[in-house]
């Protein structure tokens, strides 16, 4: 039961993020939606390595716990979070430039202005 709830939550985060990415009309909200989808993916990875009754994979007082959660997905999520930050920074930098050039972040207006420039 707990598994169903947690997995549904993670999938719901991914779905909400992708829905927001597809249908948001403002570019900054699209970036935020991407962040939500990313956290859903991270949560899924963490859940895949979770073990009931498992302790943190860290030695206390010189010995490791006998049952521990899988350290490999945790390490992957650690890297994924950092890469996510890098991607967000790049996206925000591009948005700053878009806003400077076209004066708006509305997707339809930016697209129209870009097409006008391309067809010039």
């Amino acid at each position: 039961m707990l598994g169903i709830i947690l997995y549904s939550g993670a999938v719901a985060l991914i779905v909400i993020g992708i829905a927001g990415l597809v249908r948001s009309t403002h570019l900054f909200r699209a970036v935020l939606a991407l962040v939500i989808a990313e956290s859903g993916a991270n949560l899924l990875l963490m859940l895949a390595g979770f073990r009931l009754g498992g302790a943190v994979p860290i030695a206390t007082e010189g010995s490791f716990p006998l049952a521990m959660v899988d350290p490999v997905p945790q390490a992957m999520v650690l890297t994924a979070i950092v890469i996510g930050v890098g991607i967000q920074a790049l996206a925000i930098a591009l948005l700053v430039r878009v806003k400077q050039r076209y004066g708006t972040l509305e997707r339809s207006k930016v697209t129209a202005a870009m097409e006008l420039e391309l067809n010039k």
Partner: protein, 253 residues
């Protein structure tokens, strides 16, 4: 009612619901709470000192760190490269256009004196910076013993580097030269530590140095050194990113 139905965009909604219906059964089929851990089992056995373990023990109390820096060290190097590419890309995007604007603003008004965030903010930044640096370096150096490490501590260090110059003049004074030196040096040291292992006859990035006693500060061979380099690199990169964004905002206003 019909107005509402018309306004909803059905295609993306259908797409996302369909995606959810596809993903959910897939993940519900996974075992929850007792998932198989193949690589994790090997690492666990090696760490617990079981005889005949498949992989060698690394000697780090934090197994996540041993995965990040030893068993998957090459991936971490690749990930640092991605972070570097993202930071460079953001810097390029933000710097190219603002250079002309920057020159223009500088001509009639000195840019550094434009923004004054007040004495309270200034003093708070002065007091917080050493504290933040201390916490950041602590988190980095204890990455192989406790939760934390180079990536997490690096973010704290980045804030510590960026905060004072931001409080005084909108981030303009942070020396780009120093930051890029720190970043380049840290990245090169990471690779050199990996190359020394290669020279000793082990695969690239194999931890060398003595493993020491489990749970001590000086243990786990080269892992703390590698994490220190990661922390410096992440800190310098993020500080540079914050600086670009701050300067850009300043030029705009």
């Amino acid at each position: 009612m019909s107005e509402l139905v018309k306004r909803v965009e059905w295609t993306p909604l259908l797409f996302s619901v369909g995606l959810g219906c596809l993903l959910l059964p897939l993940f519900l089929a996974l075992p929850f709470g007792n998932s198989p851990m193949v690589a994790g089992e090997m690492i666990q056995q090696a760490a617990q000192g079981v005889q005949g373990a498949v992989v060698d023990s690394v000697g780090a109390a934090n197994l996540v760190t041993s995965v990040v820096l030893a068993y998957r060290g090459l991936d971490t190097l690749g990930e640092l490269a991605i972070l570097f590419a993202a930071a460079t890309g953001a810097g390029m995007v933000l710097q190219s256009g603002s250079a002309a604007l920057h020159q223009n603003t500088k001509m009639h008004k000195h840019i550094d004196s434009e923004i004054n965030l007040g004495e309270l903010f200034d003093s708070a930044a002065t007091m917080l910076t050493p504290l933040l640096l201390l916490v950041g370096v602590y988190i980095i150096l204890h990455g192989h013993l406790t939760p934390g490490g180079g990536f997490q501590g690096g973010v704290v260090v980045a804030v510590a580097l960026f905060l004072p110059s931001w409080a005084r003049n909108g981030g303009g004074q942070l020396s780009h030269k120093v930051i890029s030196r720190i970043e380049g040096g840290a990245g090169a040291s990471f690779i050199v530590i990996g190359l020394v292992a290669l020279w000793q006859g082990d695969p690239f990035l194999t931890p060398w140095l003595a493993q020491g006693e489990l749970g001590e500060l000086f243990s786990a061979g080269t892992l703390p050194l590698l994490y220190l380099m990661v922390g410096l690199k992440v800190g310098a990169e993020l500080a540079a990113l914050l600086k670009y964004l701050a300067i850009d905002e300043q030029v705009q206003s």
